[in-house]
């Protein structure tokens, strides 16, 4: 296995400051899924899965998107790959507006944006050989790669660390990690510019997870790929991302480069989220042993709370949080946050009094084994 070979050539992408023309630009993206009920099946509400997202993705970078279930991160992934049509807003890819592009017009762009899915077991057709699966994009796009399809597929298989001789095997003959490699090979077949990976490693065992994370890393360096990686695991996100967007109930609450975000999170939700991650270190050396425990559950995206959506669970909530939705502002270079009372930054609405409910919104516990 080639896991350690590229180690020497590593610092190249250590801290790229992504600027220049964005590869992908998303403005005010909204996706509401209608709910119908009653005798006439009228629309009585909507699941506000994604409710106003704006961000950019620059060539060569990895944008990590993290959040809990129901925050809309997977819907976002499907919107930017146009597997779903947005309700409103705008998606620009390399300057072209692809928001409402028809299937026919979309086709040339499809090859530039590819997706890797979570479940390596259900995303591969069990009746097709690996060769057929990996070469499917060529057929769909009507292209014949140089040197023929078979040769190209075998090259792709080698690229993702599969034995090219297994060209004629079926998915069930491979382990979970190998199947995820097949999924990656398929995504890479058309030389995409942007790869959107939705929970690419969460179904895999720890030791296999590391293999795939490293593979994604290697491929980015070799092929100059741009990634949007969607995951719920903050440790994985920290490891793979240059910049990270934290989502809560359909909105980005914080968008920052990795170092700033993990060192000094500004949004209270980000802070709580990070403190909730269990650390494989019984004494929690170098980590705060105090944990902020949020109470209750994420509210329903059908009826999100007024104002700041996090105010129902926030320990800093004031009157303004109940009424005004805070805008996503760049409070420090490279760190945007949507909060009236951010951590580690100047208060945006000073002089407000914390509302009564906020006072016991969280529980702080000590999780160190022995202090």
């Amino acid at each position: 296995m080639s896991e350690n070979e590229t180690k020497a050539a590593e610092p190249a992408q250590a801290a790229v400051k992504p600027k220049g023309e964005p590869l992908l630009k998303v403005e005010n993206l909204v996706k509401h899924f209608p709910i119908r009920s009653g005798l006439m099946q009228r629309q009585t509400g909507a699941v506000k899965a994604v409710d106003g997202l704006s961000f950019e993705v620059y060539p060569g970078e990895t944008l990590g998107v993290v959040g809990e279930s129901g925050c809309g991160k997977s819907t976002m992934g499907r919107l930017i790959t146009r597997l779903l049509e947005p309700t409103s807003g705008k998606v620009e890819f390399e300057g072209n507006d692809i928001t409402h592009m028809s299937t026919a017009k979309m086709r040339p762009h499809r090859r530039d944006v590819q997706m890797i899915f979570q479940d390596p077991y259900s995303s591969l057709n069990p009746r097709h050989t690996i060769g057929t699966i990996v070469s499917a994009p060529f057929k769909l796009q009507g292209v014949t790669p140089e040197g023929g399809v078979k040769k190209e597929v075998q090259r792709l298989m080698a690229l993702v660390g599969l034995n090219p001789e297994h060209y004629n095997r079926y998915p069930h003959e491979f382990s979970g990690g190998q199947r995820q490699r097949i999924g990656i090979a398929r995504a890479l077949a058309l030389n995409p510019k942007l790869v959107v990976a939705d929970e690419p490693v969460s179904a895999l065992d720890v030791s296999i997870q590391a293999q795939v994370v490293n593979l994604l890393d290697d491929l980015q360096q070799e092929l100059g790929l741009t990634y949007v990686i969607i995951a719920h695991d903050l440790s994985v996100i920290r490891h793979v991302s240059d910049r990270i967007a934290v989502m809560y109930l359909g909105k980005i609450v914080e968008l920052a480069d990795r170092a700033s975000l993990y060192k000094a999170p500004m949004h209270p939700y980000t802070k709580a989220l990070m403190s909730a991650v269990p650390v494989p270190d019984p004494r929690r050396r170098g980590v705060k042993s105090e944990r902020i425990l949020l109470k209750g559950d994420v509210p329903s995206p059908i009826k999100p709370p007024s104002g700041c959506r996090f105010h129902t669970r926030c320990w800093k909530a004031t009157e303004i949080c109940l009424t005004q939705d805070p805008p996503l502002l760049e409070l420090k270079p490279g760190q945007q946050v949507a909060c009236h009372h951010p951590e580690n930054a100047a208060d945006q609405a000073p002089g407000e009094e914390i509302v009564a409910e906020a006072k016991d919104a969280v529980k702080v516990v000590d999780v160190a084994k022995d202090a």
Partner: protein, 345 residues
């Protein structure tokens, strides 16, 4: 996506659901009626066969044919005929050709071409027979099939399992006229256990039961086999469910685990199949009724088709369609009773 939202299946949504479904049923019946109507009254015409000729039979007197045509309204455009037919169902109808006026009260399905009797009383006479046959057989096959399936699943791989599944295989593969005639030959003719004509339940319950026993068993045998196999398969699957493991981890006895936790879930697929089978059941009833000479809807239909008695065919078809639609509505509502996750609406 939706978290912690309590189910909103209140009485109002249930009512709205039932109303919506009933509306769909009515539409469905209209379509069925129209299709049947077109098949029997219009298509023959195109093929050069006059329904009026069917009515008069061997009489070839042109005047009487014309009279029939007028009386039955066969000269009207098809849609007008259809409208009269539907109207008659609700408000009745008057058939007249000059002085000869016949009053047909609602629900009017018209007159038999052969017996010149009203169709509706024929249907109401035949319906209880078929319902007795269907309901009894249904009960028998569900109880028998499910029981055999459960035993089979719990004794998987043993002689019991294989015996039950072999019988089930026979049941699925043997046609009714074979099993029916065979059992008639053995139990009725040879052993003389079961004798006598059909009698309605209100007249003579014992005779009713005796005359239906063999038909029940014959009809149930075909279906019970399928239910046994389905129950076995779903029981085996359910026994592997996490919640069955939880039930055992609670320290419940195996008897409770099976009879309460596993059985409750087993009913869902059985119900699904039942919904589908209620339609096919009438097909089975036709064969069974012919075999055992029961005066039910099935035999009525067979006779009507043989004699090209169009109004009776139409009537039987409509009754069958109503039966299937209503039964399916009931099955769908039963789902909601069994599985709280199913929301009507």
């Amino acid at each position: 996506m939706t978290r912690g939202a309590p189910a909103a299946t209140g009485p109002r949504t249930v009512l709205a659901y039932v109303i919506r479904r009933l509306f769909a049923v009515v539409m469905m019946l209209l379509v069925v009626t129209l299709t049947t109507f077109v098949i029997f009254f219009v298509l023959p015409k195109w093929a050069g066969q006059d329904p009026a000729l069917l009515f008069v039979g061997k009489q070839t007197d042109a005047a009487s044919i014309q009279g029939i045509r007028e009386k039955l309204g066969l000269a009207d455009p098809v849609l007008v005929q259809f409208w009269h037919f539907v109207q008659a169902l609700f408000v009745g109808r008057e058939y007249s050709s000059g002085t000869d006026v016949t009053q047909c009260a609602a629900p009017c399905f018209g007159y038999s071409f052969r017996t010149e009797q009203e169709v509706w009383p024929q249907l109401t006479d035949a319906l209880p027979v078929t319902l007795s046959l269907a309901a009894g057989a249904c009960l028998l096959w569900v109880v028998g099939g499910v029981a055999a399936g459960v035993v089979s699943a719990l004794r998987r791989g043993t002689i019991w399992d294989r015996a039950a599944m072999s019988i089930a295989l026979a049941g699925v593969s043997l046609p009714i006229y074979f099993t029916g005639l065979l059992s008639l030959a053995i139990f009725s003719f040879k052993l003389g256990w079961i004798e006598g004509e059909f009698a309605s339940f209100s007249d003579d319950p014992a005779q009713w039961f005796q005359s239906l026993l063999l038909p029940w068993i014959t009809l149930a045998f075909l279906y019970a086999a399928m239910y046994a196999r389905l129950t076995r398969a779903s029981m085996l699957e359910i026994l592997g469910e996490d919640y069955i493991r939880t039930a055992r981890a609670k320290g419940l006895t195996e008897r409770v685990v099976i009879s309460k936790h596993a059985m409750r879930s087993t009913w869902t697929p059985v119900l699904t199949l039942l919904g589908l089978d209620l339609g096919a059941l009438l097909g089975g009833a036709i064969l069974t009724e012919s075999t055992y000479n029961l005066p039910g809807l099935g035999r009525l239909a067979v006779d009507a088709i043989a004699q090209k008695d169009l109004p009776v065919i139409l009537g039987v078809t409509l009754i069958a369609a109503i039966f299937i639609c209503v039964a399916n509505l009931l099955v769908d509502m039963l789902y909601a009773v069994i599985d709280p996750r199913v929301r009507l609406g």
